[in-house]
Amino acid sequence: MSLAHRIIPCLDTDGERVVKGVNFVALRDAGDPVALARRYNAEGADELVVLDIAATRDRRPTFLETIRNVAAELAIPLTAGGGIRTLDDARAVVRAGADKVTVNTAAVLRPELISELSEEFGSQAVVLAIDAKRDGECWRVMTTGGRVSTDLEAVSWARKGAGLGAGEILLTSMDRDGTQSGFDVALTAAISKQVMVPVIASGGARWPQHFAEIFCEGAADAALAASIFHDDIQSIRSLKEFLASHNIQVRLPC
C-alpha cells in the first residue's frame, strides 16, 4: 500500500486550442482540449494540466472558458496555469474549475505571490512551475516561456518555493522538452531529493522505459507528457500496465 506514481497528460493551449512545439517554439495545432480531456479521463490519467502558453490578456476569457469546459469532463484533478500574475488571476482560474494553479514567471519576479496563493487556497493548490536549463554544474531557472534567463539556480529556487508554500513542483527540463530523448533524471533527482513536496517531472518523454527511469532513478512523484499522448504514440493504459509489470506503483483504472 503506497502512493501511486502519477501519469499526467498536459494540454498546452493558445487559450482555445491545444498546440505543441519543440523546445518551446514552432507551435502547431494538436486538437480540441475538451475532446482530449474526455479521452484522458476515460483512459486512466491521474490528473490533467492545462496551460495557456500564449497567456495574453485579451485571450484570458477564452482560456477561462476552456478551463470550464475541460473541468466539466473530468472526474480527476485539474491543474491550470500560464500567465497567472496575481491572486485575482488565480481566483478566476480556480473559480472556473481548476483544483490547482501553476505559477512560474510571476513567482520569480515576486516570490511572495506563492505565499499569498497558499494562504488563500492551501498549499495543495499551489504548483510552482520551474523551467530549468543546464548551466555548467547546475541548472538555471528560465522564465517567460523559457526565453529569459534568471540569476536563480533551480535546486535552491525549488527549495525556497516549497518553503514559501508551494505544495508541488512542476519541473520542466528545457534541455529535454520536445526532444523525446527521455526525462532529465539528474535534474529531477537533484530537486526531488532536496524538497519535501511532490515533484512532477516534465520534458523529454517518449518510451515507457523513460517513465520507469524517472520514477526509479529520478525519484519523481509524477510524470507529465503531452505529444506522445496527443498523437497516440503512447496510451496511458498500456503505459501504466508496463509500469505495474516493472513493480512501479501505479493506479490501474477499473
Partner: protein
C-alpha cells in the same frame, strides 16, 4: 430529493456539484442556518485550511444548525476538511474547536514524508462500510491534505471504516449511523469516487 451542499467558499464545491449531477442528483447550494435546517441531505465539501472552515461555520451561525441537523439523523457526508470538522479539534488551528461530533482529533501527518499527501493512494477496509459498498479494499482514491485523524492511537476506531497509510495510519472513511465522512476527494477519484458518491445518494434518498 435535493442534496444540499454547504457553500462557505470551498474551492471544491463546484466539482462535488458536477459529480453529483453526473449521477443524476439534484443539488442546491446553501449558506445559512435556515438552509441547513430545511436540508434533507447535507454535504460539507472542503479543501484548504481547517481554520477557514471552522471560522466560516461560526461566522454564519452554521455550527448549531449543523449539529442539530446531524443529530436529527439528516444524512451527512463530510469531504476532506468536511471529515476533519466532525472531530474535536485540529493541530492546524489549535485554538479552534471542531463540531465535536466524533471522538478524536486531527493531527499533522508526519515530518518524515513529503507533504501534502497528494495523489492517489490505496484505502484498506476496516469492517463493513455502506459508503464503500461494491468497492474493493485496496482501491485508489485521490488525497490532498497534510493533516488527518490518526488511526489506532485515539478513540475513532469504532467509527473507522477504512484507513490509509502515509506517515502513519489515518482514518480514510468514517461512518456512524447517518454520518459519513471521507478524507479523500470522491469528486476527483474517478470511477471509485463516483461509486462512493452514488452510495451516499442511495443511502440519503
Amino acid at each position: 430529493m435535493k442534496i444540499s451542499l454547504l457553500d462557505y467558499g470551498a474551492g471544491n464545491l463546484p466539482s462535488v456539484e458536477r459529480a453529483l449531477q453526473r449521477l443524476g442528483a439534484q443539488t442546491e447550494r446553501i449558506s445559512t442556518s435556515a438552509g441547513v435546517a430545511k436540508a434533507s441531505a447535507l454535504i460539507l465539501p472542503g479543501v484548504g485550511h481547517y481554520g477557514a472552515l471552522v471560522r466560516a461555520l461560526d461566522r454564519d451561525g452554521l455550527r448549531e444548525s449543523l449539529i442539530t441537523a446531524i443529530g436529527r439523523g439528516v444524512p451527512f457526508l463530510g469531504i476532506c476538511l468536511g471529515l476533519q470538522a466532525l472531530f474535536q479539534k485540529s493541530d492546524e488551528a489549535p485554538d479552534l474547536q471542531g463540531l465535536q461530533i466524533l471522538p478524536g482529533s486531527v493531527r499533522f501527518l508526519s515530518d518524515a514524508v513529503k507533504l501534502p499527501h497528494m495523489g492517489w493512494d490505496q484505502v484498506q477496509a476496516k469492517g463493513a462500510s455502506r459508503l464503500l459498498e461494491g468497492i474493493d479494499s485496496g482501491a485508489y482514491f485521490y488525497f490532498a491534505h497534510s493533516y488527518a485523524v490518526p488511526y489506532g492511537r485515539e478513540e475513532p476506531a469504532l467509527e473507522t471504516r477504512a484507513i490509509c497509510s502515509y506517515g502513519g495510519e489515518f482514518v480514510a472513511v468514517a461512518e456512524k449511523e447517518t454520518i459519513f465522512a471521507v478524507q479523500f476527494h470522491p469528486e476527483k477519484s474517478g470511477g471509485a469516487g463516483q461509486r462512493v458518491l452514488g452510495n451516499f445518494l442511495r443511502i440519503a434518498t
